[in-house]
Symmetry: C2
Subunit: 345 residues, 2 copies
DNA sequence: TTGTATGCGTTATCAG
DNA sequence: CTGATAACGCATACAA
């Protein structure tokens, strides 16, 4: 593989000049430039961005850490950062944590050793050691799908509390009074925890009792939703509506409910969270709280690049969620309400 | 940021020794090692993998190129390569092409400049210039979701022809005689093309006429499937079953068919391709041809690392597809068959 | 087991 | 507008 030195020799110029035609072509006389360009062709020169990174201490690479690329909402946000980065000629290294803190930690370590210029992290624990040490050491990073609304870290997210509140309110407005929730484990994601808070406060504000048996925490998976709904339906006085922490869980819950012999939305209303691309294609089409995942990814990337330029002034971008009403929620059916007390299984 | 030189000075050893405790700790006396380790702590030394990459000409990074991370099947394969790479301490840079050749080209160029040690490419055109030049220049790479079964390039894929054949055969065995296909544009993906070949040959082998109006090419998207099925249903003699190039399209087709007033699977059978994670959660649960996407990703990564060690002997791994029969296909209903000639819309 | 010296490909500083 | 040359942080041959 030839280097700028080879090119320089061939073109009878210095390496500095070769470097110039690469980085600021205008600063070199046209004739010289062409001579250099010809020499490059001749020896099939290939630019080495790694060497450049070494010399400039900028790798033009950022790290993106997400819990699970299989979750459509993270795939979308990934596409968002990806595309924005692409536009700015930045490469992105992807890391999956599988919701494991230890994994998150080792990933960040490896990424830092690789001299990434910054990090976008969809973390599981924004108050953890990891984030703190990143802050202390002045590494540019931004939190994505973040729950933090202020303080010293940059972040983009939505108001999960509000999302949970709105979802629950929708159900209440439909006449539901026994409303359950299937949540991602609070130990694993505080987003879910905040949504639950919104759910709970909404219940309270509407004078509905909070029944802790109507909350089940599970993993963020299809089967998690499916198993959880069955558990909920076994309750002596089962819910007529359930708010699910995300669409993936909701999809599982719908399946589980149907397996338990219910028909939706007549017997049970379900609302999800995310509005993943397939949400409107499901049967019944899913009522959900939309997060603009793609835009969030883009914005996070934008914020990061900004922060890399100017490390001061942390910023939080809170994006809007929106209730999307589709077919998975319906007015409560009084004849199938809690009073019948039947175990539908 | 401190370097091994700082550490060396602090520990009163040479930089070579510091380098040794990092890379081959056993080759240095325990006492010295501890001294060095202490010095590292003291000056808060952080290893610089980029510098190492520069010195060794190995970045320990590979590039992964996929058409669209939003397609669940690519998300899964990505997870596969990701996890295998992780195990081997390799970082992966992700690139989306959006099925655009030009994008694929510029991505590969950028990745090569970044000195990735190898490339995993889910390409759109295995016979194109890009692949050829990669081969010529001896860059280690492997094709993922590949259609090539032999020749000089390493690849992992499935037999798309056979998948298409089996899908069609299943439909025929259910009594269907008017079988349509919604395919991803042949110009954009040859996988789809091969599946169509299987479909077509199967028709022929069973003495069924091939009607070109029963094929519609579209983009690999939900709306693509939805629009295409409507087009198909407008046919004077519409199909009673449709084979879709992938599950995403199938999901769209199901939606579209339902909007057109059909009930599934009674009025129309649908079979997809991929078996994405949500396939069994759909309504009706999707009959499909399963590809082991996660495994394919892992295998591709394995093959690549192997190839990086030993650039000789290209290998193709063809993995098994499997027909998964669920609820979206059913025996043909004779009273709604082609003869009635009705336009169901 | 440890040290010395050199090189990796580029940028950047300083002269000219 | 161009050239000479010193970094950048680490690995590695070779020597001791």
């Amino acid at each position: 593989m030839s280097t700028i030195r080879d090119v320089a020799r061939l073109a009878q110029v210095s390496t500095a000049t070769v470097s110039r035609v690469i980085n600021s072509p205008d600063s070199v006389r046209e004739k010289t430039r062409e001579k250099v360009l010809r020499a490059m062709k001749m020896c099939n020169y290939k630019y080495n961005a790694l060497a450049r990174g070494f010399a400039t201490k900028k790798s033009n690479t950022i790290g993106l850490i997400i819990p699970n690329i299989n979750n459509p909402v993270f795939a979308e946000s990934t596409l968002g950062v990806q595309e924005y980065a692409e536009e700015k000629q930045i490469k992105v290294i992807l890391g999956n944590t599988s919701y494991k803190i230890s994994q998150e930690e080792s990933l960040i370590k490896a990424l830092r050793e690789s001299q990434v210029d910054g990090l976008i992290i969809t973390t599981t624990n924004p108050k953890g050691e990891i984030i703190k040490s990143l802050t202390d050491e002045g590494i540019p990073f931004v939190l994505l799908f973040s729950t933090v609304k202020n303080g010293p870290v940059s972040a983009v997210g939505v108001d999960n509390y509000r999302g949970g509140y709105v979802a629950t309110e929708h159900l209440i407005s439909l006449g539901h009074r026994r409303i359950g929730m299937i949540a991602g484990s609070f130990t694993v994601t505080d987003r879910s925890y905040h949504r639950w808070h919104g759910y709970r406060q909404c219940l309270k504000d509407h004078g509905l009792p909070y029944d802790k048996d109507l909350l089940v925490q599970t993993e963020y998976s299809l089967s998690g939703g499916r198993d959880s709904i069955k558990q909920l339906l076994k309750h002596g006085s089962p819910p007529s509506a359930v708010f699910c922490s995300n669409d993936y869980i909701a999809l599982g819950a719908i399946k589980g409910a149907r397996e338990a012999g219910l028909s939706l939305p007549e017997d049970l209303s379900i609302v999800g969270f995310d509005d993943m691309p397939t949400a409107s294609y499901m049967v019944p089409a899913l009522t959900t709280i939309r997060q603009p995942a793609y835009e969030m990814g883009r914005r996070a990337c934008e914020l990061l690049l900004q922060k890399m330029e100017n490390p001061e002034k942390p910023e939080q971008h809170m994006m809007e969620t929106k209730l999307i009403v589709r077919e998975s929620t319906a007015a409560v059916q009084y004849d199938t309400e809690a009073e019948d007390g039947g175990d539908r299984q």
